[in-house]
Amino acid sequence: MLVLSGIAVIIAGFLLRFNPLLVIIASALVTGMAAGLDPVAIIASFGKAFNDTRYVSIIWIVLPVIGLLEAYGLQERARQLIAGMKGATIGRLLTGYLVLRQLLSAIGLTSVAGHAQTVRPLVAPMAEAAAGQGVDLSDDDREDIRAMSAATDNIGLFFGEDIFLAIGSILLMKGVLEQNGIFVEPLRLSVWAIPTAITAFVIHAFRLWRFERRLARKGGAA
């Protein structure tokens, strides 16, 4: 029971808005000590895990390319392109991106799009431009649009990737089932991701349509 105190540290730390990195280290120390580990061993195992998970931080090497593109006006160009398209609404744009992201993920291409690769340089400025046609957007609206662009990327990724046979979560499930003597083909697991993928699309597309109407209504009233 005592090892759960680390979870309490995490929740309290996030609620009290301490620096999350401090909260994480504090939680690791509390959890490890509750399990009877000594502090040096805890720091060592944390350091080992940090070194083993460096691949998570590789994504930052795309920033020089994004910086170059932005200095040469990519975001402005994305806005102009959308502004020149009749019928490009934010709802249609983000719904189109949602489908694309789900389909790409479903064939295993999870890393070709993402927050650094596509959302910041392309999707978010395009969404702002599409919503801003003939409407004055407030700063809060712009925040909401960018947040919704990032949300659409996440939802497209999460509820597309499990349709692919060889994605990490499918292999994990296969492994856990096998440890318990149950043998299931990856295909049997991945087909059962399809109902949820369709439902996720329907729910989120509906929300995007309502989001578009909300922005348009506010603009019309202003």
């Binding site: 490890g32 805890i42 080992k48 200095a71 006006g73 925040e143 990032a150 949300a151 439902t199």
Partner: protein, 312 residues
């Protein structure tokens, strides 16, 4: 054979460049803090395998100390808006082609290196291709746009500083997960959940399984950590053992119920907090707020799907 090690070296050199370029920015009073932070990350990328476990642990403590004491400052050296507009007008829509170099290279490389193994470790084909795409895009950009050679790194450094310490949150949370596993947190949670459900009601068990996946994922920030725990606590003994459910449905849709939890927690930093920093949102939880409206109905749908599809 090209493996992740080569990509780590490239990443380390990029972080090192960020550190050095930031030092020149005199209007940032905390530039030494930023430089120290990115230098430490460069060391981790370049020499992490030679530091030993305790060495890496000390490196993490130094990173946390810098972030926790507010030693990092925000930087600004954006190119002026009118200059960007003028360049955008000059180069037109071909800028999009350059933007697509990274995704297209990642795509082509993933297929190519998996079909023709030998040059690149097939298991890491996508990450190696991503790095190749970055180098290719920088090369083409340099020849075509002729920027000052330091401009890409200088602008990349500006973006990196605007993300700040949040850049290592995902790695930190993954490491915390490892400590939790070592301490047996999952087993304790599993026992708690097992004791809490009324064993004989099918609907209550399915709900406990789906909600448990989502909640434990929110705590751990990762459905991968929650799945083995919830499966061992409810999925296997109750849903499969007692009620004879279909293991494929219970696993696959249970994992997706966990993904609904991922959408609602700051612990899933790389999906929720990092984009908020990257898009320069004032509200750090803005992305989570945008996701809750999709995640909650979808969680209910997933629980219903398990109930309908697994026990026919």
């Amino acid at each position: 054979m090209i493996t992740l090690t080569a990509v780590y070296v490239l990443t380390g050199l990029v972080f090192l460049a960020f550190a050095l370029l930031g030092l020149r920015e005199r209007q940032n009073p905390r530039r030494f803090g930023n430089a120290a932070f990115w230098s430490l990350l460069a060391v981790s990328m370049l020499a992490g395998d030679r530091l030993g476990d305790i060495g890496n642990g000390v490196l993490v403590l130094l990173l946390v100390a810098l972030a926790g004491t507010g030693a990092l400052g925000k930087a600004s050296a954006e190119e002026p808006a009118d200059l960007r507009e003028a360049r955008a007008a000059r180069h037109g829509n071909s800028l999009f082609l350059l933007a697509l170099v990274i995704p297209v290279t990642a795509l082509a490389g993933s297929f190519l290196f998996k079909t023709f193994p030998g040059l690149v470790d097939p298991k890491q084909a996508t990450l190696v291709s991503l790095a190749a795409g970055v180098l290719l895009a920088l090369g083409i950009g340099q020849i075509w746009l002729r920027p000052h050679p330091a401009l890409p790194l200088q602008q990349g450094r500006r973006l990196m500083d605007s993300v700040g310490w949040a850049a290592i949150l995902p790695q930190m949370l993954a490491s915390l997960g490892a400590v939790f596993a070592l301490a047996g947190v999952g087993d304790v949670v599993g026992q708690l959940v097992e004791g809490a459900i009324p064993q004989h009601s099918l609907l209550a068990s399915v709900m406990a399984y789906g909600l448990g996946m989502a909640l434990f994922t929110m705590v751990m920030g990762n459905a991968f950590a929650a799945f083995p725990v919830m499966f061992a606590a409810i999925g296997l003994p109750v849903l499969i053992g007692e009620h004879h459910g279909n293991p494929a449905v219970i696993s696959a849709i249970g994992m997706l119920a966990g993904f609904c939890g991922t959408l609602m927690t700051p612990m899933a930093a790389n999906f929720n907090l990092v984009p908020a920093a990257l898009l320069e949102l004032k509200d750090k939880n803005g992305v989570i707020r945008a996701q809750v409206g999709t995640a909650l109905p979808l969680l209910i749908a997933n629980i219903a799907f398990i109930y309908w599809f697994a026990f026919r």
